[in-house]
């Protein structure tokens, strides 16, 4: 097991290196740079002044030196400063990461709380009204884009109830109630999409497992329906579901970009989008690498979960 984990970690190195090269190159290929934003709309900065700012920001170095410098900063866990604000990136991340983590965790919890029971219900009551309702919900979740659903929820909440989640961000430790008010609605919107894919996969796999011989044996033994479904069928049906959930984590992070913008949450999504728009190279590069490392780690965790769900699976 440990050897397997170590091998996977070793294999992650080229993945991360390739990611770093791609993001570094893409940022340089994009036209425009942070200097134009720093200039504002004045049009009043001369070439000399621009050259000075470029030097201060080390944008005058050849690309290979810029890349080497950045990789060294990442390895030494000192990712540098934002070109736009001058704030150390570590500080920006310390503010933004907890927001996105909380949003993603809540969305995941809400998504799974909705998806698994409805998926099981759909499977066990195939082609009944409740199955169709569950499937409509699932297809809706897949079809409705986050930006549309988020905008709809916030607009109609304001029109019908004269209420929207408090704008801004309050830490859970400062005010748990206000924090939950701010996060529950966006997490529900984000979780709805996650729940859709999970719900459909749960339904399919539970349906498949319910047709297995050992389930028929369980029925024949006279076990109760709840025990058959939840103890014998569901656990075995979960492996593909866990794979889907792992795959959805990327979608969750992408969705967080939109949801954070609509609900004005200062998370990683907004930080990254702003950095891309303003060509804040170090911030974009660091954020992308953080997300890449997170996804690599989560995929490993998902793979390791298989052996817990199905003891026949062994890693060596």
């Amino acid at each position: 097991m440990y050897k397997y984990v170590l091998r996977r970690m070793f294999l992650a190195v080229p993945v991360l290196l390739l990611s770093s090269l791609i993001v570094f190159a893409l940022m340089r290929v994009m036209p425009g740079d942070a200097l134009t934003v720093l200039m504002g709309e004045s049009g009043n900065i001369g070439e000399k002044e621009l050259a000075k700012v470029r030097k201060d920001l080390r944008l005058d170095l050849p690309y290979y030196q810029q890349y080497g410098l950045w990789v060294w900063q990442m390895v030494s866990l000192r990712p540098g400063d934002s070109l736009l604000t001058g704030e150390p990136i570590a500080v920006s991340l310390r503010k933004a990461v907890p927001v996105t983590l909380e949003l993603a965790a809540l969305a995941m919890i809400l998504g799974l709380v909705i998806a698994i029971p409805i998926g099981v219900l759909s499977a066990t009551r195939q082609d009944t009204a409740s199955d169709y309702a569950g499937r409509v919900v699932a297809v809706s979740g897949l079809s409705f884009p986050d930006f549309w659903l988020g905008t709809l929820v916030i607009t109609f909440a304001a029109i019908w109830f004269h209420w929207i989640p408090p704008i801004g961000y309050t830490s859970f430790w400062d005010s748990p109630w206000k924090n939950l008010q701010q996060f529950l609605v966006p997490a529900a919107v984000l979780g709805f999409r996650l729940s859709a894919a999970t719900m459909r996969m749960t339904r399919s796999t539970v349906l498949e497992v319910l047709r297995e011989d050992y389930v028929r044996t369980a029925w024949a033994k006279g076990l109760g329906g709840r025990i058959v479904v939840y103890k014998h069928a569901l656990k075995n049906a979960l492996i593909p579901v866990v794979t889907v959930i792992g795959g959805q984590l990327g979608v969750l992070l992408a969705g967080a970009v939109v949801i954070e913008t609509i609900f004005a949450l200062p998370g990683m999504g907004r930080l990254t989008v702003e950095a891309i728009l303003y060509r804040d190279y170090p911030v974009v590069q660091t954020n992308v690498m953080l997300v890449a490392a997170t996804l690599v780690t989560l995929n490993l965790v998902v793979d390791l979960t298989y052996s817990w769900l199905d003891p026949r699976i062994r890693y060596s």
């Binding site: 994009m30 709309e41 049009g43 199955d131 004005a264 907004r270 728009l277």
Partner: protein
């Protein structure tokens, strides 16, 4: 438990039945939605709202918190390094200028551009307009925050600040026009200009000309993190992407003001969320672009007060690479102008609540907004004549060109597409449109090496006559983004900044505008007027022409009070 056996026979609703029922319900709901009558105001584009809200006559009440959901968030707090509206939506509240434009509660109307003293009590120019003397208000204190700790503001502070502006940053160009600064005593500042300029006081009244503190710059090396001034509010907190909180300055020199205890700006990038915040009472005033949006919000907030914003100039137009063929030929520029139906844009894109488009604020040369006829012959929609003119210029079969733009708001895309369609239909000009992100657009635009067409802008941070004429139209100015290169305009704009008599100024400005229209030097496009919508208890929040209270006109907040 399961009503389903493993073989899959069903005992409930069939798929066909379910789809039929669901489809019927959807069609019914759709029909219901479509059957709602389109409102008359939206269809006709009429604006029943007032253009000016005069000062409230009641005695102002003190206290309370004003909240606004804002689209903007400043990247930093250093006024030397950014002219972003995100910063000036509150920098004008923490800091003062030497002079300022009239506040809404003292202005005669939306077009009142008169100057008032801010840190300066009085000012005068030498006969040749090269030396300007400002007499400072006595007893003005910096905010009682370390390292200033409430010390008195003196002329040395002004000298230091202006020299720092000239030395580094985005305002260098303007402040470099000051040749030297004298401080004969604690309360007198004398500016020696390199060239005669009658608009020095106006330039210093621009929202971006705030006075910052020496101590912070010396201690921090920049002003990126702390903004301490002499203004009515102290910046208590600025958390990027979350909020800015401004607390009343108890030691403010304008005794009794401001009236509010706090002004909170919530950084809210999404437009729908800002409107929802207003509906839900989390924001006290909000900007709306179209009459139909106002009408929609009035359904849930019928007592909201609405000011139809009064735009006296536009900021966007079709910039042509007029230093190169074919746009260096005035006939081509005139043909383009005559082939575009601007009134149609006003009627359709802006629902009738917009202006046809001109670049110099009308109040600088006439009393009322321009009528279509006042633009002259080349600005009337005459496609047949346009076609003829283009043929005379050697392009009887049209030509191909490019147009790049950044979508500042959705209506802009509609405008760009209308222009593209009309140029094709009327002149057989193929326009290839490229929509860019802001940074790419901005970089390409100000670099001024592009070809073809661009949906160009002039900035909104400065509203003075010199800014709108010399700075944007003189061929040697770094802000001449539209690439105007006309000896007559150069001569007139230079002469204007040396003409002290207001009557003569108006006459020269009129000649500049007429020349601009005649040469189609800048092809202005229609622009929305928009609306400021406020909760019914907000008083004295009206916006003045070119200075919206939620943007560069933020100093107005010092006069706002809450009637509740």
């Amino acid at each position: 438990m399961p009503t389903q056996d493993p073989k899959g026979t069903y005992n409930g609703v069939s798929r066909r039945q379910f789809l039929r029922r669901a489809g019927g319900t959807a069609v019914g709901l759709g029909a219901l939605a479509l059957s709602r009558p389109i409102s008359k105001a939206a269809a006709q584009g009429a604006s029943p709202y007032t253009e000016w809200i005069p000062a409230n006559t009641k005695a102002p009440k003190r206290g309370g918190t004003l909240t606004r959901a804002s689209a903007w968030d400043p990247p930093m707090l250093d006024p030397r390094l950014t002219q972003s509206v995100g910063l000036y939506q509150f920098a004008g509240l923490t800091s003062n200028r030497l002079v300022r434009y009239a506040f809404p509660d003292e202005a005669s109307g939306a077009g009142d551009m008169s100057l008032k003293g801010d840190l300066a009590e009085s000012w005068s120019a030498s006969p040749d307009n090269r030396v300007w003397t400002f007499k400072l208000r006595q007893g003005v204190k910096w905010q009682n925050v370390a390292p200033l700790n409430g010390r008195e503001l003196t002329s040395a502070d002004i000298k230091y600040c202006f020299e720092a502006y000239a030395k580094e940053g985005v305002q260098t160009f303007n402040f470099k026009e000051i040749e030297g600064i004298e401080t004969p005593d604690k309360y007198t500042v004398r500016l020696h200009m390199q060239t005669p300029n009658v608009f020095v006081a106006h330039a210093l009244a621009e929202p971006i000309s705030i006075v910052f503190s020496r101590e912070v710059l010396e201690e921090d090396g920049d002003l990126k993190k702390r903004l301490i001034g002499t203004g009515p509010f102290v910046l208590k907190e600025h958390t990027r992407k979350v909020r800015a909180v401004l607390r009343r300055n108890p030691d403010y020199w304008d005794k009794g003001r401001p009236y509010l205890d706090e002004y909170i700006i919530l950084m809210t990038p999404d437009d729908a969320t800002r409107k929802a915040a207003f509906r839900a009472g989390q924001a006290d005033f909000v900007w709306m672009a179209s009459p139909s949006e106002v009408e929609a919000i009035r359904k849930t907030n019928p007592s909201a007060s609405v000011q139809a914003y009064h735009n006296s100039a536009v900021f966007f137009g079709l910039a042509m690479s007029q230093d190169k063929p074919p746009f260096n030929d005035v006939r081509v520029r005139r043909a383009l102008s005559m082939a575009i139906d601007r009134q149609k844009q006003v009627d359709t894109v802006f629902e009738g609540h917009g202006i046809l488009g001109w670049g110099v604020p009308y109040m600088y040369f006439q009393e009322k907004p321009l009528t279509a006829a006042q633009f002259g012959p080349w600005w009337q929609y005459k496609p047949a004549e346009a076609k003829k003119l283009l043929a005379e210029a050697g392009h009887p079969n049209g030509f191909s060109t490019t147009l790049f733009y950044y979508e500042y708001w959705p209506q802009m895309t509609s405008q760009v597409q209308l222009v593209q369609a009309e140029l094709k239909k009327n002149l057989n000009i193929d326009v290839k449109i490229t929509k860019l992100d802001y940074t790419t657009y901005y970089g390409r635009y100000v670099e001024s090496k592009w070809e073809g067409l661009c949906w160009g802008f002039q900035s909104g941070h400065a509203v003075g006559l010199d800014e709108r004429t010399y700075q944007y139209m003189h061929s040697k100015s770094t802000k001449n983004f539209f690439r105007v290169n006309d000896p007559q305009i150069d001569e007139l704009t230079t002469k204007l900044r040396q003409t002290p008599d207001p009557k003569e100024q108006r006459a020269i400005t009129k000649r500049i505008v007429d020349r601009e229209f005649d040469q189609v030097a800048r092809l202005w496009m229609p622009y929305d007027n928009g609306f400021i919508v406020a909760q019914p208890f907000v008083r004295n929040h009206a916006s003045i022409a070119l200075r919206r209270t939620d943007g560069y006109g933020s100093p107005h907040i010092a006069r706002v009070w809450l009637d509740k």
